[in-house]
């Protein structure tokens, strides 16, 4: 059992195990379910993730309020028909994250990861990684357990709710989970996984939650797109050997404290940030 990143690493190192193995064993102990049953449940999650990441790539769907829709399709077409600055990987990853966010905003089926608002980041990150490196379904599922382990630690020691911690706690934690998953899927050590997660959180520390009209649409979908890029680049930085000077557990604590010190107007209340701009107010009056 582990309560924080330090304890997780100690178990991984003393038993010579990957993060996903330790997470699976913890789940088995806590629930009494077999490893096989737990993996089967995770496979159901993956199935929904694959569907939501692809659904809006080729067709335009609109959110319930009509504030967003069609963004995933635009990015997909743009990257297919143009020589882009960021290239295929980045553009495809953004398109997939936008797809899940659009499915979510149009009342389609998604997997909260860790929340519905941040649900686009992890699926896109693992699928994009698996595609580039030809990883199979079991390796992707391993990555999902790695991601869940990171999320468990954050939920236990801080928060994964925008209403308590701002967007850093949703899209930031989503990216931290995804970056650890990528690192482990690509053979990185547990230490490297936690460095990747730390870097991902550090990159967006303090990000506020200021949705227009209080709806999970704008800027949420865009922050899922930037969130997956945060996950990919943080994974690459960590795999290149860059370490977070501040240990993972302290980064999480800092995020929690920053979240608590953010005013309520910047925590999902739609009273500050973009939501409180003249245009934000105007859009709110139009859709509510």
């Amino acid at each position: 059992m582990f309560n924080n990143g330090k304890e997780l690493l100690e178990i991984c190192n003393s038993e010579n195990k990957k993060i996903h193995e330790v997470v699976l064993e913890k789940e088995k102990k806590a629930t009494g379910r077999s490893i096989e049953d737990i993996r089967k449940l995770m496979r159901e999650n993956l199935k929904t993730m694959v569907e939501s990441s692809n659904y809006a790539l080729n067709k335009k769907i609109n959110s319930v309020s009509g504030l967003i829709g069609g963004e995933a399709n635009k990015v997909k077409k743009y990257s297919q028909n143009n020589k882009t600055l960021c290239g295929d990987i980045i553009n495809t990853a953004m398109a997939r994250a936008l797809s899940t966010s659009e499915v979510n905003a149009s009342m389609g089926k998604i997997v909260a990861a860790p929340t519905a608002g941040a649900s686009g980041i992890l699926p896109s990150a693992i699928l994009t990684t698996a595609e580039k490196f030809n990883l199979d379904e079991e390796e992707i599922i391993n990555g999902l357990f790695t991601a869940a382990g990171i999320g468990e630690i954050v939920a236990k020691n801080a928060t994964v709710s925008g209403a308590y911690g701002g967007c850093q706690a949703e899209c930031g934690v989503g990216a931290a989970m995804a970056s650890a998953a990528i690192v482990e899927m690509l053979g990185g050590s547990p230490e490297t996984c936690l460095h990747a997660s730390s870097i991902a959180i550090i990159n967006i520390l303090g990000l506020v939650c200021d949705p227009i009209a209080g709806l999970v649409e704008f800027p949420c979908a865009l922050r899922n797109a930037s969130g997956v890029i945060n996950a990919l680049t943080s994974a690459d930085l960590a795999l290149a050997g860059i370490e977070s000077l501040i240990p993972f557990d302290e980064v999480i604590e800092a995020m929690y404290k920053v979240g608590k010190s953010l005013p309520d107007s910047l925590k999902e209340t739609a009273l500050g940030g973009l939501a409180a701009t003249p245009t934000g107010e105007c859009l709110k009056n139009k859709v509510l």
């Binding site: 449940l41 309020s65 929340t115 236990k156 649409e217």
Partner: protein, 221 residues
């Protein structure tokens, strides 16, 4: 510190856009249906706080209606629930209101049957899809629907609780939590069990003298 499992972090599989405004709302509606039964013609939703302000954009209206029609939070028909209710000739109304000192995401659901008799449930969506039922037709309660739940009303007489406990244990049902409150001579018990409470057990309990209301609510997705 609360313990989390992998599926608390990755999950639920749900219809978007919001775990509290959509998934939680569906669960509230579904639990209300389990308590009230299926024999209703008209349902009025009194929406409070954030539910009142953002229900259209979050699809809270569709989610609540899906719930009272018996759908789960991952049901893709949630999107079309208003139309489905219309087909079933159930009249639906939404009223934005102030229910007083309640959680921001609270709804009072008033069911009306064909004889124009009313029955209401009040509940809140408290985050991440979790819910709390707080009032059943005037009786204050508090349960979250995660475990099989038994709701009983009886004329408060000595020994009632021990009789109920005996029936449960003889049917191999372990009591997880139990709350008893009393107004006048009428006691209300909300009991959460570790395993499902079936029709036969319910029948046995309702045959106890002084017990005049029994309802079992099974956990939902």
């Amino acid at each position: 510190m609360k313990e989390y499992g992998v599926f608390d972090i990755l999950g639920p599989i749900m219809i978007g856009p919001s775990s509290s405004h959509t998934a939680g709302a569906t669960r509230l509606g579904k639990i209300a249906r389990q308590i009230v039964g299926e024999n209703f013609k008209k349902v009025t939703f009194l929406l409070h706080g954030s539910f009142a302000k953002t229900y259209k954009g979050h699809g809270t209206d569709r989610a609540l209606v899906a719930g009272i029609l018996g759908m789960d939070p991952s049901d893709e028909r949630i999107r079309n629930s208003l139309e489905i209710a219309k087909e079933k000739k159930i009249e639906i109304n939404f009223i934005e209101t102030d229910l007083g000192y309640e959680h921001p995401n609270t709804v009072k659901i008033i069911f009306e049957n064909k004889n124009k008799e009313n029955f209401y449930i009040i509940g809140s969506s408290i985050g991440g899809g979790s819910i709390l039922i707080t009032n059943i037709d005037g009786t204050k309660v508090e349960f979250n629907g995660n475990l099989p739940t038994l709701i009983l009303k009886y004329n408060d007489k000595k020994g009632s609780i021990s009789k109920i406990g005996t029936i449960l244990s003889s049917n191999d049902i372990n009591i997880a939590t139990m709350k008893v409150s009393r107004e006048g001579q009428i006691a209300t018990m909300v009991l959460e069990a570790d395993s499902e409470i079936d029709e036969n057990v319910l029948k046995e309990i309702s045959s106890i003298e002084h017990v005049f209301y029994t309802k079992a609510v099974n956990p939902i997705e």
